[in-house]
């Protein structure tokens, strides 16, 4: 029922968001498109309009190109890793008759960590004289510069992130598992279904909605990586871990090219938007094709 009083109250209650959205979303959105066509350096009082020059420069720059690919490399590494780990944890914990919650809470703890802290721990753990490196040096004669070579730097950031998110996703998947009717399993047991069949034919299809959630979340994570990379590699070595956020941060606040960085940010959000859209569609059609939805 719409009446005058409800109208007034509705707008009143919604006003915190409306004001916020205007100042910190709509305004900045317009501003960033404006900036992207200028050569402003973040400090000088004057600047010129440069048309599409910033965009052309961005598309040709090794930094932006690396950001584009690095995101997908992280995806290739992080998404399967975190999915398999969280699935393993969820299935493992689900079968425990006692202390289930306690285990889940334990696995969830890494999610509460700050990226700065986990990076610090990783750096200490992989430092030259660390137990791991001493062991590798003394046993195999290997001297690995973990953060100095492209593949291992990429892998370490991916592993830190997988460590952080595994317990959280396992929690989501467990809720999915709990919603599966026990009777389905019992009926399957009577029919003599093997463990493997049970997982692929019963658990996975019924788990699909929860799995869809964790997959979308984990794909989303790869587009927003900053802290770990900033802390450990600064985007290096040689752009190997240069994520979008890292590139934008460097261009805007280290090189003070606000106009150019805004153009990159626009490219980044277009790429993010399209990628997530395509991934969603692919996941949905995967579910449909298997008859899970």
């Amino acid at each position: 029922m719409i009446n005058k009083q409800n109208n007034r109250l509705g707008w009143l209650f919604a006003s915190p968001y409306l004001i916020f959205g205007l100042i910190f979303f709509l305004g900045p959105l317009v501003w960033s498109f404006y900036l992207a066509f200028t050569n402003w350096d973040l400090i000088a009082p004057t600047y010129d309009f440069v048309g599409f020059k910033n965009f052309a420069k961005a598309l040709a720059s090794p930094g932006v190109q690396s950001s584009f690919w690095v995101t997908y490399k992280f995806m290739l590494l992080f998404v399967p890793l975190v999915t398999v780990m969280s699935l393993a944890v969820a299935v493992l914990v689900q079968g425990l008759p006692k202390l289930k919650s306690l285990y889940l809470i334990g696995f969830f703890l890494p999610y509460l960590s700050s990226g700065v802290v986990s990076s610090l721990i990783a750096k200490g753990f992989l430092s030259y004289n660390s137990p791991v490196n001493q062991f590798l040096r003394n046993t195999f004669g290997w001297d690995i510069d973990w953060l100095g070579s492209p593949i291992s730097a990429l892998a370490i950031v991916g592993i830190i992130l997988a460590w952080k998110f595994t317990g959280y996703y396992a929690l989501i998947l467990t809720s999915g598992l709990e919603s599966i009717d026990r009777e389905v399993y019992e009926a399957a047991a009577i029919d003599g279904v093997t463990d493997r069949q049970r997982f692929w034919k019963i658990t996975l299809p019924l788990l699909y909605p929860a799995l869809y959630t964790t997959l979308i979340l984990s794909f989303g994570v790869t587009f927003g990586i900053f802290t770990e990379v900033y802390q450990l590699t600064g985007g290096g070595p040689n752009y190997a871990t240069n994520t979008w956020q890292m590139e934008i941060y460097n261009q805007a606040f280290t090189n003070l090219q606000a106009g150019y960085a805004s153009a990159i940010a626009i490219l980044a959000s277009v790429v993010t938007f399209i990628s997530i859209f395509v991934i969603r569609k692919l996941l949905e059609s995967w579910g449909k094709r298997n008859g899970w939805v």
Binding site: M1, I2, N7, G10, W11, F13, A14, P16, Y17, F20, G21, F24, F25, P28, L29, W31, L35, A88, V89, L92, G95, L96, S101, Y103, I105, G106, F107, L109, P110, Y111, L112, S113, S114, G115, V116, V117, S119, L120, I121, G124, F125, S130, Q134, W163, I172, S175, F223, G224, Q231, W244, Q245, I248, A252, A258, S262, A265, A268, S269, T272, F273
Partner: protein, 279 residues
Amino acid sequence: MVGSKRKSKLRLSIRYIVATALLLVMVYPYLYMVLNSFADWTQIDKQLVPSKFTLKSYGWLFTGGEVGIARPWVNSFFNSILVSLASTALMMLFGVMVAYALSKLNFRGRDTVNNFVLFHMFFPAIILLIPQFLVIQKVGLYDTYWAMIIPKAVSLWAIFMYTNFFKAIPTVFIEAAKLDGASDFKILYRIMMPMSRSITAVIFLFLLMERWTELLWDMLVVRSDNMLTLNVLLSQMFGPYGSYPGPLYAASVILTVPIIIMFAIFGKKFKEGMQFSLK
């Protein structure tokens, strides 16, 4: 039958062993951090489990250590608390208010606002970093506590979660209360909030955790040493103080422990709330 029972018992034991082993691997980084924060400085990052312990690292944080510059570690800890609590409290308050409007107040233009919230939520936030920073600079909030609080005073996710939850609360309750002459503020405070305790625990914890561990924004908008959050200070000390890993581990412990305590306090409600939030 006895044989199969024993077999299933064995399988269960294996399951517990595997789960425990995996849990230890996952928690080990925290363990490593805590052990190194108490380790003798000659043993830091050199042994899986140190054998000599000291409180020197924690003492260093309070005194400023051998460099003679009193570092504002203690100060930064309180900055973190101030910023996180203020910001999270506002996100909760505004989340509840806006969600109440979107779910229970039938005002003209509600659908438009609702769609706009969704659009905002799914818009790639990366594009907003630079202009948001400029807004803060333009309105003169650069290098103030407000710069860390106001732009993080509204959470779309909180609005979204509360809206969905409030929609599930029958309108009958509200109409009955209105007949008794209760105002909307009272309804929100007396009916909606008590009914959504578990979801509140989840939202509060996630928001607080995210705010507490924020790095990029806090390091952009504040420059003064005495206003840095613990997370930012730790990040800055990471490089130049590389030769003092002990205190860095100690600071990491101090940064990590409060959020784990919060989690322990709200843990019970948390699990119930998670159940709903995943629907």
